[in-house]
Symmetry: C2
Subunit: 149 residues, 2 copies
């Protein structure tokens, strides 16, 4: 119990370990991934089809309609989308901003992978998984590299 306690516990929070902090960051990222995938897809659908209908979201995400419905309810609760029963889905300002941010990240990661020489299909796949876990700092390096090459 002396101040020279071997366990350097932070006063109040849980971290205590640099690794723990990193994992908590990863967990946080995982929680928001789905939301990001949805708003990104919704923005895209609105752009290409004029509207985002649950049935199309379900098809593109590869899940069933009820799953989409529940997720959209959550997104609505979180203020990212608005919806009316039996109608298509819209993004709030916040949702639109998030979508744009996601698209930006996605683009940077994708271009980077392509500039490394990766084939288009694999690049798209990997970008989809990677984009949620890249820090701003890394993005800067990615863009610089893609431009330079």
């Amino acid at each position: 119990m002396k101040p020279s306690d071997p366990a350097p516990q932070t006063p109040d929070d849980r971290p205590a370990d640099p690794r723990a902090e990193a994992f908590q960051g990863v967990r946080a990222a995982r929680r928001s991934e789905l939301a990001e995938d949805y708003v990104e897809l919704i923005a895209e659908l609105i752009h290409t089809q004029g509207e985002a209908r649950p049935v199309d979201i379900a098809a593109k995400m590869g899940v069933t309609a009820p799953t989409v419905a529940k997720t959209l309810d959550r997104l609505a609760r979180e203020g990212l989308v608005t919806r009316a029963r039996y109608r298509s889905v819209f993004l709030t300002d916040e949702g639109r901003a998030l979508a744009q941010e996601c698209r930006r990240r996605h683009e940077i990661v994708l271009r980077f992978l392509l500039s490394l020489g990766l084939d288009a299909e694999t690049a798209e796949r990997d970008a989809e998984g990677i984009e949620h876990h890249v820090s701003e700092r890394t993005l800067v390096l990615f863009s610089a590299f893609a431009i330079r090459s």
Copy 2:
């Protein structure tokens, strides 16, 4: 219902869309991420401390003891670890193999990020998130780049 149906549905499965397939891949990856993080950490603890105790796993992962216990039960069910009540945790052959594979990926991603010029702390953080979403093909390019630079 004619054969020239506009929706090109694959006969039996759900995919139907290249994007859907990609998302399903990402979801699959997400499911195994935690398992991978655990076996990787367990291998590391065994290496550095001689044994992997739940309490240390909890500290490093930044979660509580009961969460660790439940997850370890799942990993045991999946044949990745073995455990006895009130004793420390061991990896099965399968678990050891997975840990090694994870460590390899982690190393490659980390070295790659560092060789891009990223600071050590951010590199570690990003690697933790990215490593589960990188295809073998991308890993090859990453290693080539890290060596070449």
